[in-house]
């Protein structure tokens, strides 16, 4: 049977759906029986979601102005 350590090592492949069907079934079976690994998987997903939302850097105003000018210059209204 798949050990907890092995499951943890492959958790990203499972989450990202980069796993063979056979492996997937093994993981699911393990998760069904193991609360610690179920929690780990949930925590790893939460960690990824946190990293995704962390440091959401907004576009600086000066950059927006500059790009709008470039945009108007290079992609003028059609027919004009």
């Amino acid at each position: 049977m798949l050990s907890c350590k092995h499951l943890v090592e492959q958790a990203s492949d499972y989450i990202d759906d980069e796993m063979s069907m056979r492996k997937r079934v093994q993981v699911k079976l393990h998760l069904f029986m193991c609360v610690s690994c179920r929690r780990y998987l949930k925590q790893l997903k939460l960690t990824i979601a946190m990293l995704h939302c962390k440091n959401q850097h907004q576009a600086p105003e000066a950059m927006c102005h500059h790009l709008l000018k470039e945009y108007q210059k290079n992609l003028p209204k059609q027919g004009s």
Partner: protein, 216 residues
Amino acid sequence: MNKTGVSTEEALPDERELTQRLISNDQQLFMTVVKAWHPSLYSVAAAIVGHSIADEVVQEAWVSVIKALPKFEGRSALKTWVTRIVANEAKNRYRKESRSVSLESVDENWATDSRLVSDPRFDSSGHWNQRNPAWDMGSPDELLSAQELQDCVDKHLARLPEQQRYIMELRDAGGMDMEEICNILEVSSSNARVLLHRARDRIQQVVAKFQRTGEC
């Protein structure tokens, strides 16, 4: 689209319409796109060239995008295409500034050495030594609003081996495809997957420890 992430792009029209309207001078839409995509484009640039010139790199990349847009063939999603241009621009800048560490010098050993090192979380048969406790903070918002925890995460992000951090930032903060990341970093996909997981697992452990002990 990133499966795990929160999308800020729901208001944008579908691919075809998006490209069409951007080519035909929809200034308002253009600004919406620039703003909506900035956090992930910035993450991609920052992962490669660092934070100090990441905005600049994104801006330069957008100028290239504007010029190339009428020739965009739609073989990939527009955002994928723009992200690739940002990454290439960042890579060029990185080369020009000729920093000491090469992006290509991924230590291939990182991908294989983990199994030899024992992991204190598990016993010799690979079972958890202690039952993995549930977390008190159960949502990204709760985690993000705990400032002490975020400082701790930042500290550990900075300590990750560079390649691990690049891959995780490109993937999880920048939302890039793994295939694109492998092209940019010139690393095999199996190694990239191992490095990505190692970085995520490390940060999971940092958060877990903080939840358990309140300490970094």
